[in-house]
């Protein structure tokens, strides 16, 4: 096995992250991911020891923006046709709650 137990993802961190990004995980997945995320986590940890130099400069990079004008776009009915459920020009979500 290439990774030590202490390099695994902790269960509570995994569950908290899964809730944060709204992905349901089965118990089997949780167990597997604790170990299978270790390669990514170990790679990332090599970065945390590097000096902070360059962070601010990088953060200041900006993108180009478009002119703020109304242009022809996709038609509402074509977009609605992609939805699992739709009704009277709206996306439909028929579950309980909100």
């Amino acid at each position: 096995m290439p990774f030590e137990k202490e390099e695994f993802f902790k269960r509570e961190e995994l569950e908290k992250t899964a809730e944060l990004c709204r992905v349901f995980l089965t118990d089997e997945e949780k167990q597997a991911f604790e170990e299978e995320l270790a390669p990514l986590l170990c790679m990332a940890r090599t970065l945390s020891d590097l000096p902070d130099q360059g962070i601010l400069e990088e953060a200041q990079e900006t993108g180009r923006v478009r002119e703020d004008t109304v242009k022809k776009s996709l038609q509402r009915e074509h977009l609605l046709a992609c939805a699992p459920e739709q009704s009277e020009g709206f996306f439909l979500f028929s579950k309980k709650g909100e």
């Binding site: 709204r22 992905v23 995980l25 990514l40 074509h78 992609c82």
Partner: protein, 479 residues
């Protein structure tokens, strides 16, 4: 002869069509026949648009001489990776999440190829949402390497590579976030381009990691790769990150040769962690270029391990953000489970995403979370910025940089452990983190018959230098 039209070079296809030696319908038919005969075994295509392709070919044949575009790829068919939106044709990203998604619009690259007289044959298999290096993470099927059936075709554009290598398409589009065009091109013995960031429009490419990815081209020869790139090149008002890089003259580039070009060999990619057979293949190719008049010397570069780590942090972070749109409300899979909107989202995403996608989304959310963002994500951006500065300064002394495309030969199907899978991108992520254009091309085979590949990198917007060198090398190898 007409049964073998799919085995002509693309230049011969274009010339034959122009001289009316054969029709676009016959050329398209030859490719559809090849798909029908072989693709059950190869598994390159997820969707074959046989009737649409035939109808389009027939319509192009019916046009008069003056109505035909003079584009170099007029009448030539092509395949598209299944993360490039096609109006009225399923675009699944090889994911159960988008199993039934039919986009209402074409991606700009698809629009441009069709406007230039291209004939789309179908949509190709891939690792789900582009996350993988083997095409084994497709939710629907496996794809085999047509050059060596026991091996993976590479990924994530493995279906595009397999279709071209198996003569089921003359050329194909893929997308490259960390090597997803170049790696499958290398493993299937093809030419693969990752263009300069912003050179081609990303409008209609289903987003994985927006700051890193570009649509790219896979082909058997250099000519059609360059011709497709020039057809697609240009700013697009629908993609704010696209730029107007100048085009180049295809014929002149084909003839220019490499005399006087200064080529730097990126030393870390010839040292530890790289299979000696792969390194030797790229070195031999460099020697060939030297014999042809290029000046070739080694040059230093920061350890690639940090680049690879930065790539996985940035790409996963962007993936977690980009894939947040798949919630089962506006499009995509919706779970039957869940008593609230939040629960419905979580079940829909849990059921719709495959294992590798879930891992990347989790990891991306983790590195962006309040307690970790400085430790991982900001550090990764700093590494990318430093790398960009380092490589830019190398271009003061060199016109091009050269290294192997992959650190190892293609893995066998079903045998790769995940650690190796992530390591396969070691030589390719450099171009994505810096935005530079990179081209890979075949440079021989091992004794076992596995393809070897070299990778060239050029300054931003200088794809002409990549193709100039590739044309010269390809010509020399054919002698």
């Amino acid at each position: 002869m007409k049964n073998e039209l799919n085995r002509l070079t693309v230049k011969e296809m274009a010339q034959g069509l122009k001289k009316r030696d054969f029709s676009c319908f016959e050329l398209t038919g030859a490719h559809l026949d090849a798909i029908a005969k072989k693709d059950e075994e190869i598994g390159a295509y997820l969707t074959v648009c046989a009737e649409n392709a035939k109808a389009r070919a027939h319509a192009l044949d019916a046009l008069g001489k003056e109505q035909r575009a003079s584009a170099p790829l007029y009448g030539v068919p092509y395949a598209l990776k299944d993360n490039i939106c096609t109006a009225g044709i399923k675009t699944t990203c090889a994911s159960k999440m988008l199993e039934d998604f039919v986009p209402p619009y074409d991606a700009t690259v698809e629009e441009r190829l069709k406007a230039a007289g291209g004939v789309p044959l179908g949509k190709t298999n891939m690792d789900e949402f582009g996350m993988g290096s083997t095409t084994e993470y497709s939710a629907f099927q496996k794809t085999i390497n047509p050059i060596a059936h026991d091996f993976v075709p590479g990924g994530s554009s493995g279906g595009s590579a397999a279709a071209v290598a198996a003569y089921e398409a003359p050329y194909a589009l893929g997308s490259d976030t960390g090597g997803s065009v170049r790696l499958p091109a290398a493993y299937c013995g093809l030419v693969g381009l990752k263009p300069s960031y912003g050179a081609l429009s990303r409008y209609g490419l289903v987003a994985f990691a927006s700051s890193l990815e570009q649509v790219g081209v896979l082909s058997r020869g250099v000519y059609e790769n360059a011709a497709a790139f020039l057809t697609l090149l240009g700013a697009d008002e629908k993609d704010a990150t696209s730029c107007a890089f100048p085009p180049f003259d295809l014929e002149r580039t084909e003839q220019a040769g490499v005399k006087g070009l200064r080529i730097g060999l990126l030393r870390p990619f010839f040292e530890k962690g790289v299979d000696p057979r792969v390194a030797t293949g790229a070195l031999d190719a460099a020697k060939t270029l030297e014999h042809m008049g290029a000046q070739v010397t080694f040059c230093p570069l920061a350890p690639p391990e940090h680049s690879l780590a930065a790539y996985y942090v940035i790409s996963s972070a962007e993936a977690s953000s980009n894939l947040a749109r798949f919630d089962g409300v506006r499009y995509g899979k919706r779970s039957e489970k869940g008593d609230s909107l939040e629960e419905s989202h979580a079940f829909s995403r849990g059921e719709g995403f495959g294992k590798e996608v879930k891992k990347r989304v989790l990891f991306g959310s983790y590195v962006l979370s309040a307690g970790q963002i400085d430790r991982y994500y900001h550090k990764a951006r700093a590494v990318a910025a430093a790398l960009k500065g380092e490589v830019t300064s190398l271009f003061e002394d060199f016109d091009l940089l050269l290294c192997p495309t992959a650190p190892a030969l293609p893995p066998k199907r079903g045998e790769h452990p995940p650690t190796n899978a992530y390591g396969q991108d070691l030589c390719t992520v450099l171009a994505n983190l810096t935005g530079l254009p990179a081209l890979c091309l075949p440079c021989g085979r091992t004794r076992e018959g596995l393809p070897l590949s070299l990778q060239l990198l050029a300054p931003m917007g200088r794809e002409d230098l990549l193709y100039r060198t590739a044309f010269a090398y390809e010509g020399e190898e054919k002698k």
